[in-house]
């Protein structure tokens, strides 16, 4: 059967040996792996269509994949299925500064778009922490987020047009080049489909003008909860910061050890708030922000004097996850969301649960939009440690739901959280989603086993960092 697929691709872009497929057996969620039948590496839309049609006709499941940085196991292969690796389709096809759009192939790297747009003083706003390696196609499939979602939204708010190959090989053109549209928002429902609606082969992104100025402050607190409450006060005062991030003591210590950002040493929690926009407006707002922060019980407030210091504040934040990873052989990152007003309560509960179970939990998160990222530390070599960590992770998700939030803010459901879909949604909700999925993929061949608890479950294995993470190329957050 594979022979007919091998005819579509030259030998260097068709991998079926154990050595060839090994790098594709897992993604950023390293606890899961599966061995695909073969990996194909298309270079054109026509080759994607041919590969998808081959899968359709032979009833073989497939997983389209970019750089494999998914933290929810979204790009883990289906055992015995095909991996369509899109890294070679990485061109920026068009960059139009007048319409402020970039048309890209799915394998284009997130930061490459901003780099290409920089000469027009434009940029692509969504900034997942893996942005130097993750692909736009993966961002589209999982509706990737980042540190700036409250103000600017997620990937779906920046994708305005798509050319997609549906799971039976039919091509559909969704949206266009205008920010406005008529009729149901098909582009909107496609983004975040977790690979279940086929493969996006051309993506039209909107670009934003680079802000004229950034003003950044860092506030230190004696209690984590106080930092959480400060976020509520900033919002209640009518601010719309570009980013608001919190780190707890464990994360601060780890970041200090790793990259020496010079954070206040006695802090139990730090809050970073950044305003951006036109200088005249931001200066006025920033002065007012300082007043508000002074009223939140911070014992140390630092203001970035220049861009170098601003970048130092962010360096510690951006490295925090990999830094925390060094404190422990293994860790699970959770991604639940709570209403901002419940941040303090959520953090207190997470701390209590971790303490009671003797599991260390570090917290680094997008506070502005209530998106928690607790890092649950464990040692996979210890019997039962992974299971205990997963059990705590599950209880944290249930806590998020109980507080009125979501099981995932930006990492997606993937393999990891599919059992929790039934806790967030009622059977009728899931039935409608499944019907939509079946209308687009009647044979359920496109990334089966993700989002919904069906399909074969890949092996849940030991532990270990992603190879790229070990090399310091990516970080999980």
């Amino acid at each position: 059967m594979l022979a007919s697929l091998a005819k579509i691709f030259p030998p260097d872009r068709f991998l079926a040996s154990a050595a060839g497929t090994a790098p594709f057996e897992c993604d950023g969620l390293t606890a899961f792996h599966a061995r695909p039948l073969a990996v194909v590496m298309p270079e054109t839309r026509e080759e994607v269509v041919a590969a998808v049609k081959w899968c359709w006709e032979n009833r073989v499941p497939f997983v389209a994949r970019g750089s494999g940085t998914s933290l929810s196991g979204g790009s883990v292969p289906v055992a015995g299925g095909i991996v369509i690796a899109l890294n070679r389709m990485n061109r920026i096809l068009r960059l139009d500064p007048v319409q402020r759009i970039a048309v890209v192939e799915p394998g284009a790297i997130n930061t490459a778009v901003s780099q290409a747009a920089a000469r027009h003083r434009l940029y692509y706003a969504p900034d997942p922490s893996s942005q130097t390696i993750c692909t736009i196609g993966g961002n589209v499939a999982f509706n990737a987020g980042g540190a700036h979602c409250l103000k600017y939204g997620m990937t779906s708010n920046h994708v305005i047009g798509l050319t997609v190959v549906l799971p039976d090989g039919e091509v559909a053109e969704l949206g266009g080049e205008s920010l406005e549209s008529v009729g149901p928002d098909l582009t909107g429902v496609y983004v975040g489909n977790e690979g279940l609606f086929g493969v996006a082969v051309e993506i039209t992104l909107r670009l934003l003008p680079m802000p004229e100025t950034y003003r950044t402050l860092l506030a230190a607190y004696d209690r984590l909860e106080a930092a959480g409450d400060a976020v509520g006060k900033v919002v209640a005062a009518g601010f719309l910061p570009g980013a608001m991030e919190i780190m707890d003591r464990l994360a601060i210590e780890a970041a200090e050890a790793a990259v020496h950002p010079g954070y206040p040493r006695d802090a139990t929690a730090i809050l970073i708030v950044e305003l951006e926009g036109e200088k005249a407006g931001v200066d006025v707002e920033f002065a007012r922000l300082n007043e508000v922060i002074r009223g939140t019980g911070a014992h140390d407030i630092r203001i970035a004097r220049d861009n170098d210091e601003r970048l130092l504040f962010w360096k510690g934040r951006k490295s925090a996850f990999s830094a925390v990873g060094r404190l422990s052989p293994d860790y699970i990152v959770q991604d639940g969301v709570v209403p901002r007003g419940k941040l303090g309560e959520a953090l207190r509960e997470i701390e209590r649960m971790g303490r009671e179970r003797g599991i260390r939990v570090a917290n680094v998160f997008h506070a502005g939009d209530g998106n928690l990222h607790p890092l649950i530390l464990y040692d996979g070599r210890q019997h039962g440690a992974l299971e205990a960590a997963e059990s705590l992770a599950g209880d944290i998700l249930r806590l998020c739901l109980r507080l009125g939030g979501s099981i995932t803010g930006e990492h997606g459901v993937g393999l990891e959280k599919r059992a929790f879909m039934a806790e967030m949604f009622a059977p009728a909700d899931l039935a409608v989603m499944q019907r939509l999925r079946r209308a687009l993929d009647p044979r359920a061949l496109s990334n089966p086993g993700k989002m919904f608890p069906d399909g074969s479950a890949p092996a849940l294995t030991a532990h270990g960092m992603h190879p790229l993470e070990k090399a310091g190329v990516i970080s999980r957050e």
Binding site: G145, S156, S178, E180, S181, P209, G409, A426, M433, M451
Partner: protein, 366 residues
């Protein structure tokens, strides 16, 4: 205020009644305040389902920047509740003063001038509760500002025109309203330089609240923020735009944007009021042809939408849009179906429609 297009046969007051109405009625079309006549008029043989009885804000915590309300809640009621807390609907739905509802704003997929700053209705909808054509009550999305669980059906319902399901409840993200606004009017001799100025403003690092172009040559740029920043910012903005500029503040700023709001055509008009998504590059040729056709037009959302008053028939407009490879939505006037021209993704949309409305209980798109 507006009368419904025809006496609605069904006016449910609870979600259960909506479910029952959908299950018991073979063909129906939901509508809200009836402010967008071409969208709320049920085709022959199809019952109307009025949602105005399903009204009220269910949850609103200003500190969360979110609210949840029943679909028939008037936009004016929402706007008042938000304004009391210094917040607003950043996508600026039209016809709010005329009695438009939240569900109608979502279903129509219309956003107003202020969408320039942060985005349109599809960018602010967080969650939706709806009744499918199969009579199921379902929910998708969430109530928090960030959520990636499940398919993004809330966005799908933006612009769905009541043809995928009956929206009964929606959750939205909202933002703090700029404390003050002021407007720069820049007048140019014709379209070319006005459009050039629009593109420069779009590309610059100005935080612009609204950016509209009245053909042929009047550019309207609204800034928001603290009033003591306006002098400096307006001077910079005027240098960027060129043209003959005037700064409007307070009452004159308000009056300008009230005048620029999307409005229905006067009673007795036989023309069509149409929304057409466009790009700035396409405007010169489009504008020339629209001028030849005797159509009034205005460009909003930084040159991303044309609001057109088309003097001819829907069939003529459909042909015109197809030759321009554009799609349009008829808001007012006689059109068989509201979607005209070269719509995209019809094959994908037909599959979506079949999934959510398997029995064809709601009208089709074409």
């Amino acid at each position: 205020m507006s009368a419904s297009p025809q006496a609605p046969t069904l006016q449910p007051r609870t979600i259960d009644e909506v479910v029952a109405a959908v299950r018991e009625t073979p063909r129906l079309l939901p509508f809200g305040g009836g402010t967008k006549p071409a969208l709320s008029l049920a085709p022959p043989g199809c019952a109307s389902l009025g949602l105005c009885g399903l009204s009220g804000i269910l949850e609103y915590d200003p500190g969360e920047y979110t609210f949840t309300a029943l679909a028939g809640t008037r936009l004016s009621e929402v706007a008042a509740a938000l304004a009391a807390n210094g917040q607003y609907l950043p996508f600026d739905p039209p016809f709010a003063d005329a009695g438009a509802t939240l569900g109608g704003a979502v279903g129509a997929g219309l956003s107003g001038a202020a969408r320039q700053r942060y985005g349109g209705v599809r960018d602010f909808i967080l969650g939706v509760r709806f009744v499918t054509g199969a009579g199921e009550l379902a929910r998708a999305g969430g109530k928090v500002v960030k959520n990636a669980a499940g398919f993004d059906l809330p966005k799908l319902f933006a612009g769905s025109l009541g043809r995928l399901g009956v929206i009964v409840e929606v959750s939205f993200k909202v933002f703090p309203r700029p404390p003050r606004t002021a407007t720069l009017r820049a007048v140019f001799p014709d379209l070319g330089p006005a459009l050039g100025a629009l593109v420069r403003v779009n590309q610059a690092a100005f935080d612009v609240e609204a950016l509209d172009l009245e053909a042929p040559g009047v550019l309207w740029v609204r800034l928001g923020g603290s009033a003591d920043t306006f002098t400096e910012r307006m001077e910079r903005l005027a240098r960027l735009t060129g043209g003959v500029t005037t700064v409007l503040t307070e009452g004159s700023d308000q009056a300008a944007w009230e005048r620029l709001q999307l409005r229905l055509l006067p009673p007795g008009s036989t023309a069509l009021l149409v929304k057409v998504p466009v790009t700035a590059m396409a405007i010169p040729e489009l504008d020339r042809l629209l001028g030849q056709a005797g159509a009034d037009r205005r460009y909003g959302a930084g040159g991303n939408v044309a609001w057109i008053t088309w003097p001819g028939t829907a069939a003529e407009l459909d042909r015109f849009l197809r030759t321009q490879r554009l799609a349009g939505l008829v808001i007012q006037g006689a059109a068989g179906t509201p979607l005209l021209g070269a719509t995209r993704g019809d094959n994908f949309r037909n599959r979506v429609k079949a999934a959510l409305d398997p029995e064809g209980r709601f009208p089709g798109y074409h």
